[in-house]
């Protein structure tokens, strides 16, 4: 057939190659580059916010634009930077780690990537529409996001739909790949923790993205078709919005952290030159976190006026999540214990992840305590908490993964000296930004305000300075990646001596097609759960 002869042809050249590619490595790179671009777009918005908050008073921007910046910053970082970065890493590494030639559904893979630029192009275009872009926070609580929203809200809803479809398709592809494409002999309990955490994350995505789609569709109907799902005047219920949103939103939080756990669980053993402690308990802990994540959503709503019994239930369930999360941290530390530890750049980012994520986790336990949460809720304490798990947490793990796998992607080691400079500036900047927010929040500063009372001035100034240090130092990340693509110290197939896994059996850089014949996998010798 003609189809078969076409397969032997070279891929199209130029931009058509990228538009039409069905190769998991190329699509993985596209996802990662897209996410990098969004990181900078969302980062510039964060710096605009921090510039305005440098001092009390309104200096640079007006409140309506400030609200658009906080909203867009959140949406872009969550849906445009962190999630696509994990999908990009999954695309690149899952087939390589399970010995598959590609993803199970390559054309779907292409489609789910190219939906993203459309979704975010649409979302960003709302900033130039009459009345401005979304200005109701990334949580878009009704009725502020319906009856009182700018006209561009319907475009925002469409872009969420498109990004959501992209996520669901990507997740289906990952599940299909992991279940069907493992090399012969590899059981589920032989998979790397990155594959495991992504498998569980993919199930979370398939479970909750449709709920998000449902809730934005209800908004669309309220805005354009005269329904009253969230309009109290029409018999609707604004609190219903929050229940639906957070039923999506809390698992979403774990969608953004579970793959990070997976990355760190690979990097720590590599540079401690010691097998991961408690592989099985890591898998069980990840699954427990995922299941519990469906039972804690109302801890975002402790001040909304729920009955006492509900408050207690959600407080206890939320506290319970600390247990499997603690198990993960303890396992990482037990892996370090009596290892032979070296501190290459990926390891530095992974270790910083453990410390900083734990700080965010501990403030999370504090937030679970309902009476205290009445004082923390909607203050900068919450901003500090979730940024600690997302920026020095998830983002650091992504960066750690990038440094860890760059030799495999490009065939060259990333610059160790520039990488270390990038690491130290990032650690200083990120903690200078977010640690003082604990204080301003406890002292009583509400979140999402463009101007604040004078007693909050000092900590805000520190946060703003830290934000500029952190933001500008990410330019180093660009330089490191650019230089690593161009050249550097050549990397062997296994660039880190303590690394384990099938990805290190293919040459560096990984050729376009790998594992056309399934690799030999002997669980007794190769499994992370071997005796």
């Amino acid at each position: 057939m003609q189809m078969q002869t076409e397969h032997a042809h070279e891929p199209p050249r130029g931009w058509m190659r990228w538009l039409l590619t069905t190769n998991h490595k190329e699509i993985g790179s596209l996802y990662l580059l897209f996410s990098l671009a969004m990181l900078f777009v969302g980062g510039i918005m964060a710096l605009i916010i921090r510039a305005e908050l440098f001092q009390p008073g309104l200096q640079l921007i007006q409140p309506e634009f400030f609200n658009q910046m906080t909203t867009m910053h959140g949406l872009i970082m969550v849906f445009g930077a962190v999630m696509p970065a994990f999908v990009g890493l999954a695309n690149w590494m899952i087939p390589l780690q399970i010995g598959a030639p590609d993803m199970a559904l390559p054309r779907l893979n292409n489609f789910s990537f190219w939906l993203l630029p459309i979704a975010f192009g649409l979302l960003l275009s709302t900033l130039w529409m009459e009345g401005g872009g979304p200005n109701f926070g990334w949580t878009f609580y009704a009725p502020l996001s319906t009856t009182y929203a700018p006209p561009s809200t319907s475009f925002f809803i469409l872009s969420i739909h498109i990004a959501g479809i992209s996520s669901i398709l990507g997740a289906i592809n990952i599940i299909a790949t992991i279940f069907n494409m493992r090399t012969p002999g590899m059981r589920l309990m032989d998979m790397s923790l990155f594959v495991w955490t992504w498998l569980i994350t993919a199930f979370l995505l398939v479970a909750v993205m449709p709920v998000l789609a449902g809730v934005v569709t209800m908004m669309l109907l309220d805005i354009n078709f005269g329904t009253s799902f969230f309009n109290a005047a029409g018999g609707g219920d604004p609190v219903l919005f929050q229940h639906l949103f957070w039923f999506f939103g809390h698992p979403e939080v774990y969608i953004m952290i579970l793959p990070a756990f997976g990355i760190v669980s690979l990097i720590v053993p590599t540079f401690a030159r010691k097998r991961l402690f408690g592989y099985r308990s890591m898998v069980y802990a990840t699954a427990s976190i995922a299941i519990l994540s469906f039972t804690v959503w109302a801890h975002h709503m402790f001040t909304v006026g729920l009955p006492l019994a509900a408050q207690l239930f959600f407080m206890y369930m939320t506290m319970l999540i600390a247990v499997p999360t603690g198990v993960k941290v303890f396992n990482w530390i037990a892996t370090l214990f009596r290892g032979s530890i070296s501190f290459e750049v990926p390891m530095l980012f992974a270790l910083a992840f453990i410390v900083q994520f734990t700080i965010g986790g501990l403030s999370g336990v504090m937030l679970a305590i309902v009476p205290a949460d009445y004082q923390y809720h909607d203050t900068y304490f919450v901003v500090a908490h979730f940024h600690y798990v997302l920026v020095p947490g998830a983002l650091f793990a992504i960066i750690a993964g990038v440094y860890y796998w760059l030799p495999k992607w490009t065939g060259f080691y990333p610059s160790e000296s520039l990488g270390k400079l990038h690491f130290w500036l990032s650690v200083i900047g990120v903690n200078l930004t977010f640690f003082p927010m604990h204080f301003s929040g406890l002292a009583g500063m509400p979140r999402r305000i463009p101007d604040y009372a004078l007693q909050f001035a000092d900590f805000n100034m520190v946060s703003s300075l830290g934000a500029f240090i952190f933001g500008l130092s990410q330019i180093l990340l660009l330089i490191v990646i650019y230089r690593c693509v161009k050249g550097g110290k050549p990397a062997p197939a296994k660039p880190w001596e303590g690394a384990e896994g099938l990805e290190w059996t293919v040459p560096s850089p990984a050729p376009l097609h790998t594992f056309e014949q399934p690799p030999v996998f002997d669980p007794q010798r190769d499994s992370p759960s071997r005796a």
């Binding site: 609707g236 530390i333 530890i341 453990i354 305590i369 305000i449 463009p450």
Partner: protein
Amino acid sequence: MRSVVGLLTIWLLWPLGVAAKEGEGVDYGSRWNMTTGVTELSREVHSLHMIIFAICVAIAVVVFGVMFWSLIRYRRSQNKKSAHFHESTAVEILWTAIPVVILVAMAVPATATLKKIYDASESEVDVLVTGYQWRWRYEYLNEGVSFFSNLSTPAEQIKNQQQKSDTYLLEVDEPLVVPVGTKVRFLLTSNDVIHSWWVPELAVKKDAVPGFINESWTRIEEPGTYRGQCAELCGRNHAFMPVEVKAVSQDEFQQFLAQKRAQAEAEKASESKQWSKDELMAKGEQVYATYCSACHQPQGQGLPPAFPALAGNANMIEASGLQGHIERVLYGKSGTAMPGFAETLSAADIAAVVTYERNAWGNDAGDVVQPETINTMLGGEK
């Protein structure tokens, strides 16, 4: 473009900003920690916070201690050969069980405090708190007293044209007055979007949700002024709708109620007299600044398309537009952010602000509206 200018400006202005340090602000007892507050509950919440905080710090010290000790002790130059152990069911069970015990220890006092917070029964004063974009309305139930509470910080301070006062953004024209030593119950709801009524020193934060009535309570022990802010993003002026609570003695509280009732009587009486244009314009300017300028802007230029311009608005200014103008102010425009002010403002306020809008910023309708006209239109309901 705006962002580039912003970034450049901030670096240029930085040294100036440090030099122009202004008021100290009003802290709620601490600049970096939760306030102890002035009620039994706020002290309980504070001690709960300090207990959990101490436990978290202790956990962090142990966990990070072991981690950093391992990093230093087992660094490669000190330990060439790593150990081989990689699992232990006993250890896993141990570090699952210990956190459970710690968490139960935290949950017990938290549950007890939460139960107290939820007991709003046997209140002596009941206040209905209603959130509006962007002000609070307080109504003393069964007392016949209600009023709005607006930010009183002048726009010049916000725009950095004037020295900021210590109470910058935390001051209102009419604070909520409550008696000390009395159980005051708050019933919270909203007229538009979700707001959240928060006073840190009372440890009260509760959402004001349209269509719902939430409940909270306090018993303040010390007379004084306690400040807070709206905690839930509610639109453009979310940062500019503070809460100010004045706790006074029972006698002063009764005087306050009596004075408020007298004030309402006088206001009512003034509605039947004929107002001069100057009187209407002067009052109208005040009302406009408090209720209208946030959206329609100080010079009536608006922020189209969400908030249309009033200056030079031909439909509104022409004589035949008068009726429509008054109705729009009274009843609002459904499906938009324009609220109706029939419930919010007095007939005199509405007459004055309509007159002002028709004759300010170059508008030249020339007509004046009397409070009586408004009352007639409302069918005597006011």
